[in-house]
């Protein structure tokens, strides 16, 4: 090791390009899987709230599987396992379209959907039956009571765990490196191999991850504050 020299990395255009590409890929994976997870979570919640035991049973099994199997193993099952069982034309298509990133999005999205749907569900459950009864008594229909009374309060209650799990989702995007997605951790390891400046490049990677995580946490805190009725009454 020859002294601490951050500039050797940050002024090398190749390394900067690799880092930027890594950041871009990490954001694509994180945002893509967040959107997938939120869509699925709302779908799972709708199934759970609709009548019929089979739906309940299905959602419970889905949530249980995705919460009790390590995320890395889920990704491996998708990329090393399910990928190979797909029909040839799909395999070829995926291989030509950054299959690693696609499977990272699918794996992380499906996994996080279980957490998001549980967050939303416990948020809604904590609103209490009195709110629904009161809304119905005031003449709201079931859906209208949900839309104007239950969901606004439920989502507000669910915000803190949702934000925490969004941060975990962002951090878990680093698992993409195991199945070969070229995201930030991948770029960090590549640059380490090329430059041998392990300490410096790890520091850069760590600071970048921390930066985005803190942005998510701060953004979450802001949204939580905006959603607080006391703040809205004052504004």
């Amino acid at each position: 090791m020859t002294g601490f020299d951050l500039s050797a990395i940050l002024t090398n255009p190749d390394y900067v390009a690799m880092l930027l590409h890594g950041i871009e890929m990490t954001l694509v994976i994180a945002i893509g899987s967040w959107l997938l997870a939120m869509t699925l979570a709302i779908l799972l919640l709708a199934i759970r709230f609709s009548p019929g035991r089979f739906g309940d049973w299905f959602v419970a099994a889905y949530v249980s599987y995705h919460r009790n199997v390590p995320t890395l193993v889920q990704l491996m099952l998708w990329y090393f396992g399910i990928f190979t069982l797909m029909p040839d034309w799909l395999t070829y298509w995926l291989a030509g379209h950054n299959a690693e990133a696609i499977f990272a999005v699918i794996g992380l999205g499906l996994c996080q959907a279980a957490y998001f749907s549980e967050d939303l569900r416990s948020g809604l459950r904590s609103v209490g039956p009195g709110q629904m009864e009161a809304a119905r008594a005031l003449g709201h229909g079931y859906l209208s009571a949900m839309r104007f009374v239950l969901i606004p309060q439920g989502v507000r209650n669910a915000l803190p765990p949702l934000i925490n799990h969004s941060v975990s989702l962002f951090k878990n995007s680093s698992l993409g490196v195991v199945i070969g997605a070229s995201e930030l951790t991948h770029a960090v390891k590549e640059i380490e191999n090329l430059s041998f400046q392990t300490f410096e490049i790890y520091l850069v990677g760590t600071v970048l991850y921390l930066f985005f995580s803190l942005i998510i946490m701060a953004g979450g805190a802001y949204v939580t504050m905006r959603a607080d009725p006391a703040w809205r009454a004052r504004a």
């Binding site: 009790n68 090393f80 490196v177």
Partner: protein, 251 residues
């Protein structure tokens, strides 16, 4: 498909259970469980110290721990593993096995997470316990040791168990530095078979599921029991306190 899975389990169950143990390092499921248990056992005392430091009124104790907690919350575990893989041999000057590297990382990571759990448990007890302890002549640390922590830690048993479950899930990341755990054993099996990756990784997922599901189940049962016991205690306490309150109001 199912017969394939049964054949794989029949042929490789020992490798998945203990790795290449008599002829090599202990691995497989046994190593996963040992690694997780050791991590929690070492992280637990550290987390109490960190929680106390974070609740301290001295900024010099509070700030470094706050930074540590935010760093572990904001940086992926994978990045921390890479750091240990680089730093631990550098600092100790020895050729450290990957097991120790992973253990170090998990102790720091889960120690920081558990410290938040401990802190929440202490804060949830309220100020009354501390005030009462101090009023009875305990010192700050004495109140912590004899009054606050025993209650807070008892209430936290379910959370500690779920942290143990996440530790088991986190040990899978040792795969990137070749820790010989269950995931490593499964990928060895996969490399020997080559043709049945889905079956192998499905077995891997199912084994993790069985372990984590049962532990989560136990945690839920314990949580229900502890909540009920605390509630029962609350009712009795209220009955004791209520007359005293009336007396004090009369006097």
């Amino acid at each position: 498909m199912i017969s394939d899975i049964l054949v794989i389990i029949h042929d490789y169950w020992l490798l998945l259970l203990i790795g290449q143990y008599p002829n090599g390092p202990l691995g497989g499921l046994a190593n996963t469980l040992i690694l997780s248990a050791l991590s929690i056992a070492l992280a637990f005392p550290i987390s109490i110290v960190l929680a106390l430091a974070r609740l301290s009124k001295w900024p010099i104790l509070r700030w470094p721990v706050t930074v540590l907690v935010y760093v572990t919350r904001g940086v992926p575990l994978l990045m921390l593993i890479l750091w240990s893989y680089f730093l631990v041999p550098l600092l100790t000057g020895a050729n450290v096995p990957s097991f120790i590297t992973m253990l170090t990382t998990l102790v720091v990571y889960q120690g920081a997470f558990l410290s938040e759990v401990v802190r929440a448990g202490i804060v949830a007890l309220g100020n009354g316990q501390m005030d009462a302890g101090r009023a009875l002549g305990h010192s700050y640390l004495g109140t912590m040791r004899y009054i606050i922590l025993p209650q807070a830690l008892y209430n936290m048993i379910p959370s500690i168990l779920s942290t143990f479950v996440s530790t088991i899930k986190d040990t899978t990341l040792g795969y990137v530095i070749n820790v010989p755990d269950l995931t490593f054993a499964a990928s060895q099996v996969n490399n020997q078979l080559l043709t049945q990756p889905f079956q192998v990784f499905l077995i891997l997922a199912l084994v993790y599921y069985a372990i984590c599901w049962s532990l989560t189940y136990v945690a839920h049962r314990l949580e229900r029991r502890i909540t009920r016991r605390r509630a029962g205690l609350g009712v009795r306490l209220a009955a004791v306190i209520a007359p005293a309150k009336i007396v004090s109001e009369q006097s």
